[in-house]
Amino acid sequence: MSVGHESAMMPAGPRHPGAKPRRRDDRIAYLFLAPWLLGLVGITVGPLLASLGLSFTHYDLLSAPSWTGLTNYRRMIAGDPSFLQSLVVTVLYVAISVPSVLVISLALALVLNRGLRGLTLYRGLFYLPSLLGGSVALAVLWRQVFGIDGMLNHVLALVHITGQSWIGSPGTALYTLVLLNVWQFGATMIIFLAGLRQIPQDLYEAAAVDGARRWRQLLQITIPMLSPVIFFNTVLGLIRAFQVFTSAYVISNGTGGPADSMLLYALYLYQQGFVNYDMGYAAAMAWVLVVMIAVLTGAAFLSARFWVHYAD
């Protein structure tokens, strides 16, 4: 019987011999929880609620906020083409980069799961880009690779192909960001690899006995058995991709250019808050982002019942 049940059966009132020690236990528990609770309230919940309040104001950081009601939200919908542009760019970025990361990392995890020699080395090597992450240094390196005088164009020149400025052209700039995100597939791959190890081998053996080939095994056993991990990586990837900032900031010199082609949502939010000093509008944008991510995550959870299979 659980503790919860025991307490439910206990008669209420101070006379019960267990009551005082329990209250003392509670107090001690709260004492130990206090640092975390203080952090949660002071650093997370407090600023969250404050930003919600600020989203209904005009606030330029240096003057007191003034109440403007829904003006910031109305402006987003009706009066700010750059906001819509940032939304389009971000959705495109998420739509391309999240599936790309999932497919590439799953493919590599499948390869690495086949018991290759030197597996640990490969695993380490593939994970290395994820350690570097979306850092400033990496974004600077990206400029060196995809710039007009970058490494890629030098390589293309070897095969007599005239390159272009990949980060300086509106048609290609966003894809360099996608590539930078895809390059960090290591963490997703490791999670897939762990998931693959959990699939019972006897399922494959039984399928093999029944004459199922590898492709059929992948579709009928691996993918369904791995679906909780795919779901997990999809949700994490979505949330992360919607918030990408550093790479876009560094590669576009903070402008979101060329011609707003790298104006990701988080970058535009930053520009509004810290360049235009329109912190009220930036707060409203942040809340719209929260709602968007929540809705998408919710939709992913709703869809999960149709394609995510739990073994137990």
Binding site: H58, D60, L61, L62, S63, G79, P81, S82, R143, G147, I148, Q164, S165, I167, G168, S169, P170, S252, N253, G254, T255, G256, G257, P258, A259, D260, Q271, F274, V275, N276, Y277, D278
Partner: protein, 465 residues
């Protein structure tokens, strides 16, 4: 029970606290006595002060001691020079300590400063620039300095009035002591131009003459070298265009003060050059690092550009090292009806939250007037504003430092030539951002000049409230 407090003077004033009421009565009396004795002490001190001739020190004339925070923008050479001046100050005032807070990147500096100002946590002495002064002075983030000037704590008598006044806020009060006079201007590779057989740039050229000069240059330059960088998104240049056409850049309320059609002409001026291949491509413009020393002019890939005059020596150095020519400065057009040369002064302010005003004032005064300090700083962020100090630096630069001499003489010429003073609005950076965004749309063919100009006006005027 006897709860009264004994008033028998024959007995020692020992009271027995027997109840809560006794305790409260005692506490009340204690507080009154404490207050009375405190007030008496203060009164005595006041009387003693008056009798001994004591008076509060004049503003900023207190002891120069304790630590103050000082922030500036710039990397490498500028930071080294700044720290040299700081060391000289601390030698002179050994009880004072400067807590240097440099920020390398110019834009990042202002972002950091704004966040600090929002938290009422500005460094005691932040470096300031006229383009951003209004952001802070209109929000009471800076301390007016007029009383410090009147008391003599900060001496601005050696600085021309036009420069001192550039540090005033909209309320007429002085919020920044200008320490470096700076302008943006044309900078071009004279050696390249000469080799290309181009006529020297006329001293008093028009925008049309300049455009023709650049168009003529494009076919005469070596392969891979462009006649000009592409600066349609540069704020200083747009203001130069507007000022030279006799229009105000901003209105008193901070909105754009010139007609849209004037800006249409401006971007068309650039587009004519870009489409003719006289400038670097739009993609190259996008890729160009903001650091002057990595720009196309510095790398010898563009013959002509618009850069701050104080960067002349820094940009010249790599060109000299690679044997790619000698740079010259040229002023923005003064025609058809105004001086395009806008003065963008840098200076030092005192934060409203500064509690050590005497030391802050002493530091500003030292930075502005000390000959050794000025020599160590070498006009790195604008020509030193004191006339005598500027003359001394020009004489000292002589033939040994031709780029420095050219730059300082150029600035002196700008100052004496009645430069345009722009009343920059708060939230000025929104205009800079809107300008870059919309010209990028034009240069990449995503928007017509007319629609981009409309968008620029709409975004800027909406942001500057």
């Amino acid at each position: 029970m006897d709860r009264s407090i004994s008033t028998d003077v024959s007995r020692p004033a020992v009271r027995t606290v027997r109840s809560r009421r006794d305790f409260l009565a005692l506490a009340r009396q204690g507080v009154i006595m404490l207050g009375a004795s405190g007030g008496l002490t203060a009164l005595l001190q006041e009387v003693q002060g008056e009798q001994s001739g004591y008076a509060a020190p004049a503003p900023g004339k207190g002891p120069v001691e304790g630590e103050i925070g000082f922030s500036w923008w710039g990397t490498g050479e500028r930071s080294r020079k700044t720290q040299a001046v700081m060391a000289l100050f601390q030698q002179k005032f050994p009880k004072a300590k400067l807590d240097g807070q440099p920020v390398g990147d110019f834009n990042t500096y202002w972002e950091k400063l704004t966040v600090e100002a929002a938290a009422h946590n500005l460094p005691d002495v932040p470096q300031m620039q006229v383009r951003y002064l209004t952001v802070y002075d209109t929000r009471q983030a800076l301390r007016p300095l007029d009383d410090l000037v009147q008391s003599g704590a900060i001496d601005v008598s050696g600085i021309p009035k036009v420069i001192v006044d550039s540090g005033r806020g909209r309320d007429g009060k002085l919020y920044m002591v200008p320490t470096g006079s700076a302008t943006n201007n044309w900078m071009y590779n004279a050696t390249m131009a000469e080799k290309a057989g181009l006529a020297p740039l006329p001293a008093d050229m028009t925008w049309d003459q300049l455009q023709q000069w650049l168009l003529a240059a494009k076919d005469r330059l070596p392969s891979g070298v462009y006649a000009s960088d592409l600066r349609g998104s540069d704020d200083s240049l747009l203001w130069a265009w507007v000022a030279s056409h006799g229009q105000p850049v901003f209105t008193k309320s901070g909105q754009l003060g010139f007609p849209e059609q004037l800006m249409v002409q401006y971007w068309n001026w650039w587009e004519t050059l870009r489409k003719a291949g006289a400038t670097v491509t739009a993609a190259m413009m996008q890729e160009e690092p903001s650091d002057n020393q990595q720009g196309y002019l510095t790398l010898g890939r563009a013959m002509f550009d618009e850069r701050p005059a104080n960067q002349l020596a820094a940009i010249q150095a790599p060109l000299t090292a690679s044997g790619k020519g000698t740079l010259k400065l040229a002023a923005f057009p003064r025609r058809p009806s105004g001086n395009g040369q806008v003065l963008v002064n840098n200076g030092l302010s005192i934060a409203a939250n500064c509690t050590n005003v005497s030391t802050a004032a002493a530091w500003i005064n030292f930075f502005t007037n000390d000959p050794d300090g000025a020599k160590a700083y070498a006009s790195d962020n604008g020509a030193v504003t004191g006339t005598k100090l500027l003359d001394a630096q020009i004489a000292e630069a002589g033939a040994a430092l031709p780029a420095t001499k050219d730059y300082l003489q150029f600035i002196r010429g700008v100052i004496t030539g009645k430069p345009t003073i722009v009343d920059f609005p708060a939230n000025y950076s929104a205009a800079v951002q809107a300008l870059a965004r919309n010209y990028s749309n034009v240069a990449f063919g995503k928007a017509s000049v007319e629609s981009a100009v409309k968008a620029f006006f709409s975004e800027t005027n909406a942001a500057i409230r």
